[in-house]
């Protein structure tokens, strides 16, 4: 066994020297390097973003619960060396100078915040400073606007329940604010020890208990794994980017894209490996027959070739991992400016994944070709026409498909995307196959036409070559078309994703919300903004109401079990009215109201909420608004872009239905850092307004977008490389025959210029046809992906019809030139001997 191993190694090394293995190894290197570098890069960016998100949450993980969190959870976290901080959240009215104000109270312990810091100020609109501890016993910190409303100053006392607490700082920012930035009441931060004395928390009080955790990533993962199955339906563990919907949505899309791109680069490398392995196998039939002649048993032959495969897999995967590691390190250095300065070190997991994937790809795609070597009959040494029986189609495709699906699923963790990609590629193969048949038929007709009219020349020779070798050409067109198609899809998606992000977050995207604008203030606020040159995203009315009934049945009885705890049912919803569909909303079903529908009890509902409540067009919803109930019929369903940083609503009424209820207005606007002082002026002028500063989280989202865009570009490079490998491999697989016939033509007197022209004609035709195939496939798959996975708007890319075939022609001409130049340049004898 060991001696055979040594022999296998020797033979492998000899094959390497003779150049046989280079394409195979390069394809493997690309597959592994792509998997590892993409894996590591994405992991690092993910970690960095989780860290950043942690800064916003004030902890790596936050557990929210309506009841007090069991001590066993905290004990387990302690055992894992995770730090923790406990807080209690509730709404309560505070009193001072006979004025009342509802506040969002957050009572924290001495560990708060675990990450990041609280920003406070000693003046209502003064300079802020960062502190790492919360208020001491008997103290409270209050949001700036409360000072104006209650007419208090620092050092004054306020009443909270039965307690009197001293205001010792102005609360400018505290971590975790980002995750609930839509809560309307101003914030109050107090010490957890003082809560009991207030007497506010009674059985049945609406309270949220929260524990934040921070610590080592692996410990956190272990903790999450332990905790998740123990969570009750009303408890929620928040971590990573979950704190921000916009961030989350961007990340999900980016991860999907990166997974898709990585999958496709693996698939392309797999195809390249299969093609080169097939050629490698065929070129080793003689070796296998000779070995059998020299006494090697089938077992020995298969042992030798399997060991070669293992060796190749080990070397290729190791080198691929190394290249992958270095590439992503290099990338991090190159893109220092765009990436987070504290990018965490990459973990070992992507390396391991890459290494194993290398083996699986190699085995899955080349094993059938190598297994055939075992059954090469020794008689082949006398009769060259004897080849081993082809491996069963089930084995070849089953193995390749099985390993591909397994790998893609394992790598991405996304079964839906994996199956969609596999299904898409299979459908494309069938489609491209039919199309290629059609194109070859057209070529045949053209050839017949030129024959009938005795047209001669290089183009006719090119056509002849295409038609004569129709089977080979069809296969080549398929391989070429498929890899070009994949490249185009990845390119299109990247372009559309990035432009979507840029649209979503243009430079002047609103970064502040202003709420609690009273009806009588709307015009004055608008004027204020106009005077100061601040552009708003419109001012929307907001009425708060709770869903109580669906089609006359109590909502809790009407909705499915899993929706009973839906956030939208637990709290009052912000309802609005309007005559037009909001800019970032899209009408999905039903009809928007006509002018005659004014004051009619209709509603437009957000699609996600409709699905969760299992309601649709024609159903009626009842809302309790103030002390009245109003019932309205669903006349349309909308999609809402929640990550647009604009006021968004689940429910919209026509004008004239809820206008009479207590209403306040909401708007969003953009100001840059230098204009921050404007906020003070705004609050001073309209003391009841609440301004929510989301510029910090916007900055984070922007930086995430930039990092992810970088990653997307980078992954595309690998897909491109893998695609090129397939092109080279597919060209190489037919090159022996092409070189042979070119040499014979030269021997028979064909001039160099004629050969050049006919080769140019043949490859241009091949490129054109492959390009056409690729463009057709691209549009179909892109349509599916855009609609089913990425929720992007699809439009036919007409420019591709020209660019696609053109690029294909250029690529094929370039690659074929590498192989055929010697045929034209050197003497036929020399080529014959070396080919």
């Amino acid at each position: 066994m060991i001696k055979h191993f040594l022999l296998a190694a020797k033979l492998l090394l000899r094959d390497w020297h003779s150049g046989e293995l280079k394409i195979l190894l390069i394809a493997l290197l690309i597959a592994v390097a792509s998997m590892t570098s993409v894996g590591m890069f994405t992991q690092r960016i993910n970690l960095a973003m989780t860290d950043q998100a942690g800064q916003f949450l004030g902890a790596d993980l936050v557990l929210r619960s309506p009841i007090e969190i069991d001590v066993s959870v905290i004990d387990y976290a302690k055992r894992l060396d995770l730090k923790n901080t406990k807080s209690i959240h509730f709404s309560s009215v505070i009193v001072a100078n006979d004025e009342f104000q509802l506040t969002h109270v957050k009572a924290v312990d001495k560990n708060y915040p675990l990450l990041s810091h609280i920003k406070i100020s000693k003046k209502q609109y003064g300079e802020e400073r960062a502190v790492t501890d919360g208020p001491g016993k008997g103290e409270v910190w209050l949001a700036p606007r409360v000072f104006s409303i209650l007419g208090i100053e620092l050092g004054d006392s306020i009443e909270l329940g039965e307690s009197k607490l001293v205001v010792t700082a102005v609360l400018k920012h505290d971590p975790g604010q980002a995750s609930s930035f839509m809560s309307i009441a101003p914030r109050l931060l107090m010490n957890r020890h003082d809560v009991e004395a207030t007497g506010i928390i009674q059985p049945g009080s609406r309270v949220t208990y929260q524990v934040g955790f921070a610590g080592d990533l692996s410990k956190r993962k272990q903790f999450e794994k332990w905790l998740n199955p123990r969570l009750t339906t009303s408890q929620k563990l928040i971590g990573g980017t979950e704190g921000s919907q916009a961030l989350n949505s961007a990340m999900v899309k980016a991860e999907q894209y990166l997974s898709l791109a990585s999958m496709l680069s693996v698939m392309l490398s797999g195809i390249a490996i299969a093609m080169t392995a097939n050629r490698y196998g065929q070129r080793h039939y003689d070796q296998s027959a000779l070995m059998r002649c020299m006494g090697a048993s089938q077992k020995t032959v298969i042992q030798i070739f399997s060991m070669q495969l293992i060796l190749l897999g080990a070397v290729g995967s190791l080198a691929g991992c190394l290249i992958g590691y270095l590439t992503q390190e290099g990338l991090v250095v190159l893109l220092k400016e765009f990436l987070s300065p504290n990018l965490p070190a990459p973990g070992i997991y992507p390396l391991l994944t890459g290494f194993i994937s290398g083996f699986v790809t190699l085995a899955g795609f080349s094993l059938p070709a190598l297994l055939r070597l075992k059954s090469v009959p020794p008689l082949r040494v006398l009769r060259k026409d004897i080849s081993p029986l082809p491996a069963s189609a089930l084995l070849v495709y089953g193995l390749a498909m099985g390993s591909m699906i397994g790998l893609m699923w394992w790598q991405s963790g996304q079964l839906k995307l994996t199956l969609l990609v596999v299904f898409g590629v299979l459908v494309s193969v069938v489609l491209l196959f039919v199309l290629s048949l059609l194109l070859i038929m057209i070529c045949k007709k053209l050839l017949d036409y030129s024959m009938a009219r005795s047209i001669s020349g290089a183009w006719k020779t090119g056509l002849q070559q295409i038609v004569r070798h129709r089977k080979e050409n069809q296969l080549q067109m398929l391989a070429f078309g498929l890899s070009l198609m994949i490249l185009m899809i990845i390119f299109l998606l990247r372009t559309d994703l990035i432009s979507r992000w840029q649209q979503q977050l243009p430079d002047m995207a609103p970064n502040h919300f202003v709420i609690n604008i009273q009806s009588y203030e709307v015009e004055a606020v608008k004027t204020f903004f106009t005077q100061h040159g601040v552009q708003t995203e419109g001012v929307y009315p907001m009425v708060r109401g709770r869903v109580t009934e669906i089609n006359g049945v109590s909502v809790l009885d009407a909705v499915p079990e899993k929706s009973k705890l839906d956030e939208a049912l637990k709290r009052e919803l912000n309802l609005t009215w309007g005559n037009k569909v909001q800019e970032n909303n899209q009408l999905l079903a039903g009809q928007w109201w006509q002018p005659g529908d004014k004051a009619k009890p209709y509603i437009s509902i957000e699609k996600g909420l409709a699905e969760r409540l299992e309601v649709t067009l024609g159903d009626s919803l009842s809302f309790k608004i103030a002390d009245r109930t109003i019932t309205a019929t669903i006349t349309s369903l909308r999609s809402v872009q929640w990550d647009s940083f604009q006021p968004n609503f689940y429910i919209v009424f026509p004008d004239g239905v809820i206008n009479t209820f207590p209403v306040s207005y909401i708007s969003s606007f953009y100001i840059d850092k230098s204009q921050k002082k404007l906020l003070n002026d705004l609050i001073k002028k309209f003391p009841t307004l609440t301004v929510l500063e989301i510029d910090a989280i916007m900055e984070q989202v922007k930086s995430v977008m930039e990092q992810v865009t970088t990653a997307v570009e980078f992954v595309m490079l690998f897909v491109l490389l893998a695609g090129m490998m397939v092109l080279v491999a597919s060209m190489q697989s037919s090159m022996d025959d092409r070189v042979q016939s070119a040499v014979i033509m030269r021997t028979l007197g064909a001039k160099k210029s004629f050969l050049r022209r006919s080769q140019f004609a043949e490859y241009s035709l091949l490129g054109f046809l492959s390009g056409l195939l690729a463009v057709s496939g691209t549009e179909i798959i892109a349509y599916l992906l855009y609609n089913r996975v990425f929720n992007l708007d699809f439009e036919i890319h007409t420019w591709l019809l020209i660019i696609g075939p053109l690029i294909s022609i250029i690529l094929i001409l370039m690659i074929s030139h590498l192989y055929t130049k010697k045929v034209v340049q050197q003497s036929p004898l020399k080529v014959l001997r070396y080919s």
Binding site: S18, R292, M294, G295, A296, V381
Partner: protein
């Protein structure tokens, strides 16, 4: 008929290479296997080979060999001649255990081939048989030396390299050890193939048209080398050939016609 010595003189390049080498070749005397000249080393019993007729898809069979019977003794040199399609190469393939007969049997080095499975026949070939082919069958990715080492490496012999170098020197290719087949002339490639056939000390060497791809002068050099090696190693040589000159130099000449053994006569020797 030329004597072995005059054969060496006839091949100029072989002569140059072989001068003095017979003394230095360590295998000439030490590793020689014992051969009993009266021992029947190949026995062909009523051998028949049929293949499906391509022009008769309804299941008709085409006779390639019909009832061939013959015996070959150890250290004999036997030529099998006949027109193209007479079944020469098929007979060689069956005798070497590369293919299986439709009927009849072959006893090779005392072993009935029909009793052995494919791996058993491979093992027997590894132990007892060497091959020389018309198209040389050198592995293009391996150098001359590596090609010759291959049979020994398959037997996991530690001395593969020394023995291969020695044989290549013997066939006059000491300065071509690290050349790839494509860098060698046809004659040189066939000399590499001869070295490879003899390197594992086989008792039988089958040669299929060994001069078929070579010009007359080179052919003669190759024939001389083949017989010389055969005589040195005392192997049994079975050659399929069109070349009457080559056939005449063999101890026996079998003529095949339409798959039947027509003549079995002694050669010029």
């Amino acid at each position: 008929m030329l004597s072995p010595t005059t054969r060496i003189e006839a091949g100029m390049d072989v002569l140059a290479a072989s001068k003095g080498l017979t003394e230095t070749n360590p295998m000439n005397n030490t590793n020689q296997r014992m051969h009993n000249p009266s021992e029947v080393i190949i026995s062909v019993e009523c051998l028949t080979k049929q293949v499906p007729a391509l022009d008769n898809p309804s299941g008709g069979m085409l006779d390639i060999l019909t009832g061939v019977e013959l015996e070959i003794k150890s250290a004999e040199s036997v030529a099998i001649i006949g027109a193209s399609g007479s079944g020469k190469s098929t007979l060689l393939g069956l005798m070497a255990g590369l293919d299986q007969p439709t009927d009849g049997d072959v006893v090779l080095a005392g072993k009935k081939l029909s009793d052995l499975d494919e791996d058993g026949r491979a093992s027997l070939r590894g132990d007892e048989v060497g091959f020389v082919f018309q198209s040389f069958q050198l592995l293009p990715g391996l150098t001359a030396l590596e090609n010759v080492m291959l049979p020994l490496e398959l037997q996991t012999k530690a001395t593969a390299r020394t023995e291969a170098v020695s044989l290549l020197e013997r066939v006059g290719l000491a300065d071509r050890l690290h050349h790839y087949p494509r860098q060698l002339s046809g004659g040189e490639q066939q000399r590499v193939a001869i070295a490879r056939a003899f390197v594992s000390q086989p008792r039988i060497v089958f040669a299929d048209e060994p001069t078929g791809n070579l010009d007359k002068k080179t052919s003669q050099h190759i024939i001389d080398l083949l017989f010389e090696m055969n005589s040195e190693k005392q192997t049994t040589l079975v050659i399929v050939t069109h070349d009457e000159n080559l056939a005449r130099q063999c101890g026996r000449c079998l003529t095949l016609e339409n798959g039947k053994l027509l003549n079995d006569v002694a050669g010029d020797e």
